[in-house]
Symmetry: D2
Subunit: 302 residues, 4 copies
C-alpha cells in the first residue's frame, strides 16, 4: 500500500465520454479536440472511465491508453481520477495499479454487483479493504445504484472512511439525507464526498461535500463550475437560481436519456459526441428534440 498520499478532490469533475469513430474504434483525435475545450474550464480534474465513459465496453488496453493520454493532455494540477472497478477483487486491484501506472492520481472503484444477493455490507467492506490495501494510489468509493442496484450502506462507508488509502466517495444515489449523515459521521479531513450529479450539487456542497462528478459538466462545464464558485463566494441566491435551472437539463443527460442523450448534446454544443458502442443506440429524433427543448427552456443555448 502506498503511504496516504492526499489527493484534493474539491471542485467539479466531468466524467468524460469516450469518443468513437463510426466503426466504434476510439477516435483519439476527437478526444484531443474535446480536451482542448475542457482544458479552458476551471475543473478540479477529470474522471476517466466513469459510467459516462462507456467503460464496461472498453478493453483493458483501451482503458490504460485513454488514461495515459488524458493525463498527458490535461494541464498540470488537474486531478485524474480513473475508474478501476471490476467484478472480482483481484481484477480490481490489478486495474487500480495499471491506472496508477498510466498516470491516474486516484482510482474510482464501483461496487461489484453481478452476484447481487451476495454483495452484503460485509463482503463489500472486505472487497474495498483489500483493494485499498493493495492500490498504489488512493481509492474513491463509488456507489451508483441506478446501474448496479447496489447501494453501498452508510455503515460500510463510515467504516471504510477510516482506511488511510480510501479518501472519498462519489455518491450517485441522490439521497441527500445519506450524504448529510455521512458528512456528519466522517468529519475528518481525509474523507471527501463528491455529489454524483449536478442535480443535487448545491445541496451537497451546503452539507459539506467538496465537489461533484457531474455528467452535465461535459456540456455545461462553465455553468457547473460557476455553481460551485457562487457557493464558495457565498452568493447563495444566485447559486440557488442556477442550481434550480440546471436540474431539468441535467435530468435529460443522466436518468432521462443517459449516455446517448449526453453524446447527442455534446454534438449540439460543439463538442464531439459521436457514435456509441453497441448495444447502446443513439437517441431518436423525438428524444433529441425533447432534450434540446429542456436546455432551451432553462436558457442554455449552445
Amino acid at each position: 500500500m502506498s503511504c496516504s498520499k492526499k489527493v484534493d478532490l474539491s471542485g467539479v469533475f466531468p466524467p468524460i465520454t469516450t469518443p468513437f469513430q463510426e466503426n466504434e474504434e476510439i477516435a483519439w483525435d476527437k478526444l484531443g479536440e474535446n480536451m482542448d475545450k475542457w482544458n479552458n474550464i476551471a475543473f478540479g480534474g477529470y474522471v476517466v472511465h466513469g459510467s459516462n465513459g462507456e467503460y464496461p465496453y472498453l478493453s483493458a488496453d483501451e482503458k490504460i491508453e485513454m488514461v495515459r493520454r488524458v493525463k498527458e493532455m490535461a494541464p498540470k494540477g488537474k486531478v485524474i481520477m480513473a475508474g478501476a472497478g471490476c467484478e472480482s477483487t483481484r481484477d480490481t486491484i490489478d486495474m487500480c495499479n495499471k491506472m496508477a501506472d498510466a498516470g491516474a492520481d486516484c482510482v474510482l472503484v464501483i461496487t461489484p454487483s453481478y452476484y447481487k444477493g451476495a454483495m452484503t455490507s460485509a463482503a463489500l467492506q472486505q472487497h474495498y479493504t483489500k483493494v485499498a490495501d493493495a492500490s498504489s494510489v488512493p481509492v474513491v468509493l463509488y456507489s451508483v445504484p441506478a446501474n448496479t442496484t447496489i447501494d453501498l450502506a452508510p455503515d460500510a462507508i463510515i467504516s471504510l472512511s477510516k482506511h488511510p488509502n480510501i479518501i472519498g466517495l462519489k455518491e450517485s444515489g441522490g439521497d441527500i439525507s445519506k450524504i448529510g449523515n455521512l458528512l456528519h459521521k466522517t468529519q475528518r479531513d481525509e474523507f471527501q464526498i463528491l455529489a454524483g450529479s449536478a442535480g443535487f450539487l448545491l445541496p451537497s456542497l451546503m452539507l459539506g461535500a467538496v465537489g461533484g462528478v457531474c455528467a452535465l459538466a461535459n456540456v455545461l462545464g462553465d455553468q457547473v463550475v460557476q455553481l460551485h464558485a457562487l457557493y464558495k463566494e457565498g452568493k447563495m441566491d444566485e447559486a440557488l437560481e442556477l442550481q434550480r435551472k440546471l436540474i431539468a437539463p441535467n435530468g435529460m443527460v443522466t436518468r432521462g436519456h443517459g449516455v446517448p442523450g449526453l453524446k447527442a448534446t455534446l454534438d449540439w454544443y460543439g463538442y464531439y459526441g459521436g457514435p456509441l458502442r453497441s448495444p447502446l443506440q443513439p437517441v431518436s429524433q423525438s428524444a433529441a428534440d425533447i432534450i434540446k427543448q429542456s436546455f432551451n427552456a432553462s436558457g442554455f443555448n449552445p
Copy 2:
C-alpha cells in the same frame, strides 16, 4: 369548489400519531396530553392522518372525530391539514369534504396505489383534478413511494400546480433534485412544497420549500422548529450542524423502524406513544436500544 382560499403552509408540521389504549381503541385523553405539549412548540400546524397516524387502520368516524378534536385543541392560527386520500376518486372527494366539515383547513391527498399498473400520470392527474374540483378546502398533493411505490411524476405535479384549489405538495420521496426542479417550474405564490422528512428539510428549504411535514417533530419538535428558524435567520452554519445531527435519529423513526419506532421514542421522551393497531407490532428491545443509542449519539437526550 371553494374559491381559492389561500392556506399558508410555511413552517414545521408534525404528522401526529394516533394514541391507542391497550385494547386498540383511541386513547382520547392521551391525545389531549400530547397536544398540550405540542401546543407549546412553534409549529405551523398539524398533519392529522398522515402515514404516521396509522390512518389506514382508522374508521371514517374515527378519522372525523380525531380531526374535530385536534382542531378544537390546537391554538388559533395553527393550520390543520387532514389526510383524506382513498383509493377511489369518489371516496376521496367524500372524505375531503368530511374533513373540511370537521375543521380541516386543507386536505392531504395521497396517490391511490392498489392498481399500480393503471396509476399512470394521466390517471392520477384526472383523479386529483376531480378531487380538487369538488373539495371544499384546498388540496395538498402527497407522494410517498416508500409506502405506495407510486412516485407522482414532475410533469403531473407541474400541471396540477396550476389548479386553483391545489396549493401544494408533500414530497416524501427524498429526491432533492425533483424538489429543486419542481420549485423552479412552479414559481407562483400559490404552490407550496413541503419536505416530507426532517432528513432533507434544510436542503429543501434552501431550494425554496416553505416547510416540512416531519415525523421527527413529534419527538424533537423544538429542534426541528429551530432548524427552520436558523435557516430563516440566515444562520447557515448552525443550521447545517443541526441538520446533519438530525439525520441519523430521523432515520430511526422513519425508514428504519417506522411508526413502531416513533411510538417507542415518544414514550421515551415523555409523550404518550403507546400500543399500535395490529398488524403493526412494537419494536423489539434490541431495536429500541439501537434507536436510543442513535438519539444519544447525536446529543438528543430526553
Copy 3:
C-alpha cells in the same frame, strides 16, 4: 372461531368484476345478467371482491350487498369466496364476519401492505392467526405481490396451514417453484392451493393445486373449466395445447391491461363489462385492438 368446517375449493373460480353504471353506481341488473351466463358454466364457485372486483373502491355496505346477491343468484353448491382483507386486523375480522353473515362460505384475506417495512413474516403470521381465530368461516390466504409488493413467505404459509380455520391459499405471484414447494410441505387434506391466474393453472394442477382463481374465466369460462377437466381426465396433450393457447390472452386481461382490459373484453364477449370507478380509466382504442388481436390469434372469438 368456527369448528373446522371444510369447504371444498377445487375447481375454477372467476373473480367476478363489479358492474357499474355510467355514474359509477353498482349496476345490480347487469350483475344479474352476467350471473345468469356464468351460472351455466361448471365453475367451482365465485370469488367476490378479488382484485378484479375493484373491491378497494367499494364501501362496506356495497361489499356486503354484493355478496348477499351473488349468494342468492348462484346455484346451490357453488362456493362463494368473499374478499375480506383490510389493512388492520380488527377491520379484517369484522369484515370476515360480515361476509359470512351475508352468505360467504369462506373468506379470501389479502396481505396488509401499507406499512411495507413492518409487514414481516412474524407480523403477517400474527395477523392471519388472529383473523382465523375470530372468523366464523374458513380463511383462504391471498398473496398478490403485483398489487401489494408483499410476497407471503413459504415459511409463514407452511406455519399458517396448520391452523384449523385456514384452509387454503390463492397464490398470484406466479412462482411455480413456490407452489410446488408449498404443496410438498403442506401435504394434508385441509390445505388447498389455488393458482391465482389461468396463465399457470395447468402446471399448478400438475403439482397438486386443487384449482384456480382466474380472471380470464370471467370471459373464457368454458375454456378454463375445460382445461381443468382435461387435466382431471388425464388428457394431457389436449390440456397442454389449451394451456399454451390461453397464456397470451390471459396476459392481456391480467398484467397487460388489468381490470380495464378485462371489462373491455367482457363487453366484447357479450357480458356486461361497463365503466370503471375512477381513478381507473378505460383502455384506449389501440390497447383494445391489441387485446382483440391476441384473443383472435389464439382462436378465441366471441
Copy 4:
C-alpha cells in the same frame, strides 16, 4: 455466420462451478476430479461459464482454457455450451468465436445489463442479431433477471427465435407462463427452451421445454437426470413426487445461498467445491447447517 448447424439441447446441463485453490487460482486438477464424477451421469452436456461458474471473475484466457479442458475431458457427444456474453456487442462476438475455437458447440449469451435504462427490447434485439450473425457457433439466449434485472421480453425472444443461428433460450426468471407462451409462439424445431433451474424443470418440460440448465445438477446430478427421465417415460406421479422434493434443496443452492451455498454443498457431497473468488465469501456455519438440513429433510444425504 455459420450455416444453421443444429445442436441438440435436450437433457440436463449442470452449469459447472469453477474450482479454485486457496490462492484463488483455478484448480485444474480439481476440475478434472469433478469432471470424472460428472461424466458418469447421463447429462446432455455441460454449461461452462454460466452464473455458477463465477465467470465475471475469470479472465478471457481462463475462460478459453477452461472450455478447452472441459471439451477434452467430456465424453464424445456431450454438448458444451459456453457462456460468452459481454457488455458490448463487439466483445461478445469476439468471445463467441473464441469459445467456438476452444471447442464450444454453442454459446450462451446473457443480456447486457449495465446501462439498464438503455437496454430496451429494440437494443437487445439488435445486439443479439449482430452476435448471431457473426458467431461461428449457434447462440442460446440467456435471461437471468435475478442477476441482471433485465428480463428479455417475449416479443424480443419470439422475433429472435426466427434467426437461423439462434437455437434456444435459457430462461432463469422462473415465470412458467412466459415459458408456456414462448413455447406456443415458437413452435418450430429449431428453437429449444431450457428451464434455468431445477425448481421448475418438470412444469417446463410438460409445457414443451427440452431440458434444463440446473445448478442443483452439480450436486444431485443423478436425481435431476432421473426427473427428466421419469417425465420422458411418462411416469408422472413419480416425477411429480421427485420434483416437489427437489424444490427446497434447489432453493438453497440458487436464490437462497448462491454460488457459496453450491460450493459448500459440493464439498459435502464428495465433489470439490472449494474457495470462492473475492468478493464472494463462503457461507457461514449457520447457513451451512440450514442447507444441510434442507437436503436431509428431502431425503438427499450424501
